[in-house]
Structure formats: C-alpha cells, structure tokens
C-alpha cells in the first residue's frame, strides 16, 4: 500500500529525472532476473541457499526501507520499462544458458505454469470463480496436442484448438459454477478434475493409464526437438521451448494486463467484490464469470498443449488434484492478481523443491511448511496485487 501513496509525488518529477527513474527500474529488474537465472542454473546447495537469502533480504529491503519502497514504487510507475527489461533479460539468460538442457527445461516449465496461472488469475483473482481443476484443463491441452499433433494441422493452430477445447470442456461446468459460489463452486471443479483423471485412466480411447505420445512442437516446419544449433552456436533443444514458453507467457501477460486496465477489468472486479451492487449497476454476473472462466481455461489449455509437446507425452496423472493445487499455490503465493508474483511463485514452487533434492524424502514436508509459513505471515502473497490506477492512461489519452 505504502508504495502507492508515494506514486503521486513521483508524477511531479520532471523529464530528466524520469529518465533516471527508468534507469533505476531497469537495473533493479535486471538484477532480479539475473539472480533468478542464476538460481535456475546453479546446483550448489550453498549458492542456492545464499541466493534465496539474498532474495528474501532484497524483498525485505524493498518493503522496510524508504529507499526500497521508493524503488518499488518506481517499478509500479514504469511498467513499460519493467516489461522491456524483463524481455531483454529473458533473452540474455536464454542466450547465456543456451546449452543447459535442464535449466532451459525448468525455465520453460516456469513460463508455462505462469501462463496457466495467468488463466487462473482471470478466473479467481478477477472474476472470483474458483478453479481447482487447473491441471485438468492443462492436461486437456496436452491431450489435444497429442491427438492433433500428428494430423498435419499446423502446430500453431493446434495450440489455438487446444485452448478452444479446454474452454469448451469448461462449458460443461459453466452452469453449476455460475449457479454457485465459494466452496460450492470449488467442489464442482474439484469433482471435475477427479472425474476427468479417472475417466482418462479407465477409458482406453486416449491411451488409458499410459497416456499418449505427443509430437514435438514444430513451427513453420522446424521441429523444436531437432534444434541443436543456431548459427554458429550449439544449443539445447529446450532453448526454443523456453523461448516459446516465455513468448506465450508474454502474450498471456499482455491479455491479462490489458483486460485489467479496461472497463471490462472494472466490471470483473465489481462482480467479484460485490455481486449485489454489480447487478444493481447493470452488470450481468453470469456474463462476466463465464467470460473469465472460459478465457482462463483457454489460456491454461494453450499452455498445457505446449507443455505436452515439450515433455513428449501426456498421461492421466497429469490431471491429478495435486498438480491443480500446485497451480493454485502459485497463484495464491504469488499474490492473487499479480502476474509477476505468479512468476516468482512458479520459481518458488517448481524450482526450489528441485534444488532441494539433497534433502530427498524430507522435501515434501519442508516444502509444505514453507508454503504454510508464506500463507501465515504474508497472507496476501509474495507480491500482492497493486491497486489499479488509471491516472497514467487517462493522461496519455
């Protein structure tokens, strides 16, 4: 909150200091991404722990110190600089780690789960429609990729169809989801996830429990899994996946961002926070919940399709409740409605347990305690959603 109250004072800054502000923002983002890239890559337990400590310290500084709060407020005030720096840093990290298969695989995984989290953001953070079956819709995307991937349909189109398929399947749930609220709607999605998984496993049409092989993603005839070099450089075949994943996330980010900063976004917030007053002011609750639910599932489906193509297989276990909870944890830990938070939380949830292989069978319990600690002491997530502020848009227009 405090960072927002600083924002108006920043607006009065003159042109030259705006340039300086941008530099500060760019450097901050660059350092954060560099640290993140290093965290993805390093396997030394000491370095992992030191990096984590550094991140915690950095976050604490950003909140406790006035200077830190100022920098944080600057980042909020210059989203364009943040996004541009982030894009450059992602490319730089990808270039630097171009041969590191595992790091790139994790990078792509983080990007795709964050994309799915963007879908959940539309549903849960904006419209307030709970979705406890994220992994199920994700798996639907993968299955569509498996079925259509070899059919000769261009793979870009397959991604789109996967999104549509997930949305259409979501239609089945629309009526009960719209008629209910809160925990009742949550159960509808939980039941759907369990049902879908059980069905895929029992029924052999889509490969039964063994699942299906998914062909590698290919773009304009270039199969990603055959990429071994770009120009003079040897690269991992996961490099194009990592880039495609990040690109997909960027698209999802743009969609969610633009939606948030539009009257449709205001409508969604109104519907979520108070159905009664929203309907008195002429908003159709059903329309907005349905829009968010279907769009969200479509995003999750697209991300799932690319994930399936990267992993080269899909099976019913991909749709399990535990994975849906992982997606949900990403959303809540990151901060409902903040997509950068979702990226940070994806790293925390997907990468850190992998980095902690040294603690082996104790991983799960330590991980669970970590999540509990975050929920308990930071109930609004690592990076809470920043209050939407239309003032800058209004001025430009």
């Amino acid at each position: 909150m405090s960072m927002l109250q600083l924002a108006p004072t920043l607006d009065t800054a003159n042109g030259r200091s705006v340039g300086l502000q941008r530099v500060v923002v760019a450097l901050t983002v660059a350092v954060l991404f560099a640290g993140g890239g290093f965290l993805l890559h390093t396997e030394e337990q000491g370095q992992v722990i030191a990096l984590l400590a550094a991140f915690v310290a950095l976050f604490a500084l950003g909140e406790k110190l006035p200077a830190g709060r100022r920098v944080a407020a600057l980042c909020v005030a210059h989203p364009g600089t943040v996004n541009l720096t982030a894009a450059v840093m992602v490319l730089a990290i990808a270039a630097a780690l171009r041969e590191e298969h595992y790091t790139l695989l994790m990078m792509a995984t983080v990007a795709l789960f964050a994309t799915a989290a963007a879908g959940l953001t539309l549903q849960m953070a904006f419209a307030g429609v709970p979705n406890f079956a994220g992994a199920a819709f994700f798996a639907v995307g993968s299955y569509v990729a498996a079925v259509l991937g070899t059919s000769g349909i261009p793979h870009l189109l397959v991604l789109v169809i996967a999104g549509l398929a997930a949305a259409v399947l979501g239609l089945l749930l629309l009526l009960p989801v719209l008629r209910t609220r809160g925990h009742y709607a949550a159960l509808v999605t939980i039941a759907f996830g369990l049902l879908l998984r059980s069905f895929l496993e029992v029924n052999d049409v889509l490969g039964g429990p063994q699942g299906m092989k998914v062909p590698s993603f290919s773009l304009f005839g270039l199969s990603f899994s055959r990429v071994t070099e770009i120009g003079p450089y040897d690269v991992s075949f996961y490099l194009p996946y990592a880039l495609a994943g990040c690109f997909l996330f960027a698209l999802a980010f743009a969609v969610v961002r633009r939606l948030e900063f539009s009257f449709a976004g205001v409508a969604l917030d109104a519907v979520r926070s108070d159905e009664v007053s929203a309907s008195v002011f002429g908003l159709s609750i059903a329309r907005w919940k349905a829009t968010a639910f279907l769009m969200g599932n479509a995003l999750i489906g697209v991300a799932g399709a690319l994930y399936g193509m990267m992993n080269a297989f899909v099976n019913p276990n991909s749709a399990n409740f535990g994975d849906s909870l992982i997606m949900l944890s990403i959303l809540v830990l990151g901060g409902l409605g903040n997509l950068w938070g979702a990226v940070v939380a994806s790293v925390v949830i997907l990468v850190i347990p992998e980095k902690l292989q040294a603690i082996q069978e104790f991983r799960l319990v330590i991980f669970a305690l970590l999540v509990i600690a975050i929920l308990r002491f930071r109930p609004s997530g690592l990076m809470p959603r920043v209050t939407r502020d239309f003032s800058s848009f209004a001025k430009e227009g």
């Binding site: 209910t180 925990h183 039941a191 759907f192 069905f199 009664v276 799960l364 669970a368 929920l375 308990r376």
Partner: protein
C-alpha cells in the same frame, strides 16, 4: 438378486456412509462457525488411526491387555490426538487467517494435511507401508444365508450411528453446542452476548477433529489396515458430502455421506464389470447435484443483508 447378497450390499453401503458422514459432519461444523474449509480434516483421520494403532500396539507389546482395555486406550488416543491436531491447526493456522481469502485457508490447511501425512510416513517405522490394525473387537461372524457380517462390523456401525446422534445432541443440548450455534449464526452478536469467539471456534475444532480421530479408529477396526495416505481421498469425499448435503447444517452432510456411499456401492452392483467408472459416476452426480441444488440439499440459511 439373492436377498442375502442384497443385504450385504446394503450393509456395506451403510458402513461406508456412516464413515463418510462422520467426516463430512466435521467439515460442516468448521464451516458453520468460521466459514472456512479445513482441508487437513482427512489427514486428521489418519492421525487418529495411527495414534490408536500406536497406543494399542505399544501397550500390547509391553503388557498383555484384555481387549476392552486396549480398545479404550486406542479410543482415548484417537480422540486425544484428533482433538489436539485439530485445535493446533485451528489455533496456528485457521484463526490467524480468518480474515484472509477463503482460498488461502484452504491451501494452508491442505499443506498442514501434507505435513501430518509426511510426518506419519517419515516418523513411523516403515511408515510408507500399510500397517495391520489390531483386532480389538470381539471376533465372530453372524451369518444368514449368503449374508455374513462380523460382530465387530455391527459394533462399529452401531457405534458410528451413535456418534452421529451424540454429535447432534452436543450441538442441540449442551452449552458448547449453544455457543457453536450462536457463533455460527452471527459471531459478532454472539460475542456481545458474552460468548468467547475463539474459545468456541477452538471447541468446534476439537469436537470436529475428535470425530475425525474416531473415524480413523473405526476405519482401522473395520478394514484392519491403515496407511499414511488413507485420509487424502477420504478428505475429498467428506468435503464433497458436506457440500452436496449443505455446508453448515448437520443433517445435510449425513445425507450427503450416505448418498455418496450409495452411489459408489450402487454402481458396483449395477455395473459390476465397469466398476472402475464408479468414481467418474459419483463425481458426475456430485456436479449435477450442485447444479440442481446450488446451496446443498439442505440449504444453509442465506444471511446476506442488502
């Protein structure tokens, strides 16, 4: 169909339904007082089962106990451990988070469940493997034609139904019950009337979790096998029963429990060779029912003021 077998199916369904109902009632109680879903509830069942197992097993290893004494010991352990873990989770996680979004509480308690589960798996020797639960009830079989049922099963079923009735009495006849109902109706007003909010909430958590611990003991006695994972699916099913029946009510979850058990048993009877689809059918029915009765079969009172 052979009436004996039919009776057998009905008995199986009743047994399953009673266990579901006991778990579901806990969900409903918590929701009633605090509007939260405590998803670690299924794992509290496991805690109860393992505590009874541990208490009965450890003592039996030291001295030979007569059956009833070992049972009483197991019962105490299950109730105590259930209540303790429930109150701990309530105190440390749920109460401090009561103003956070519902999904946070859900996630936090799910993780608490994971912790309980993992602690059992790692803490109990060879905890990853299923454990045999000692037979603490009198053995013997009652048979009539092709219907046969263990005396212990009958005892468990009767005890289970008695527990459900007792819970109803606690809620309607005791001071704790009065406090629970008052807080469920309106926490602020209850506080004005001199009812301690947090004590009532913790009391509810203790009561609901004792039920879960008891369910754990019953599961152990009935199936004679317990494992660290047994609470996961049970938790989801209990939640489903509570929601379908109507969160916050007492009769609703019981109804939901028997309904769910009925569907599962029914599918196996009617379509024995596609019984793998029984979960698909059961969850499809759940979705359908929620679509038809958006606030549960026994609708909770809408208290929204405009």
């Amino acid at each position: 169909m052979d009436p004996g077998l039919l009776a057998q199916y009905v008995f199986n369904g009743l047994m399953l339904g009673t266990i579901y109902a006991i778990v579901a009632v806990g969900f409903s109680l918590f929701f009633g007082v605090l509007d939260v879903i405590k998803f670690s509830h299924g794992d509290v069942v496991t805690v109860g089962a393992f505590s009874a197992f541990g208490a009965a097993g450890l003592v039996a290893a030291a001295v030979t106990l007569p059956g009833p004494l070992a049972l009483a010991l197991g019962l105490l352990a299950a109730l105590g451990a259930g209540a303790a873990s429930g109150m701990l989770i309530g105190r440390v996680l749920v109460l401090p988070l009561k103003n956070a979004p519902a999904v946070n509480v859900l996630l936090a308690t799910l993780m608490a469940g994971t912790v309980l589960r993992e602690v059992i798996r790692l803490g109990v020797p060879n905890g990853g493997n299923p454990k045999p639960f000692p037979a603490l009830l009198p053995e013997g079989v009652l048979a009539a034609g092709s219907f046969s049922v263990g005396i212990d099963s009958v005892i468990i079923l009767v005890a289970g139904i008695a527990v459900v009735v007792a819970t109803h009495l606690v809620i309607t006849r005791t001071r704790l019950g009065l406090a629970i109902r008052a807080v469920a109706q309106d926490g602020e007003v209850a506080q004005l009337a001199g009812i301690s909010f947090s004590r009532t909430v913790l009391g509810t958590f203790a009561l609901g979790s004792m039920l879960a611990g008891l369910a754990g003991l019953m599961l152990g006695l009935y199936y004679r096998e317990i494992n660290f994972n047994m609470g996961v699916l049970l938790g989801i099913i209990g939640f489903a029963c509570a929601v379908v029946g109507g969160l916050g009510s007492l009769i609703g979850p019981i109804l939901g429990g028997f309904l769910f058990a009925g569907i599962q048993t029914g599918v196996t009877v009617v379509l024995p060779f596609t019984s793998a689809y029984k979960d698909v059918v059961a969850f499809a029915v759940i979705i359908l029912l929620i679509g038809l009765f958006p606030t549960g079969l026994i609708a909770e009172k809408s208290s929204e003021r405009v």
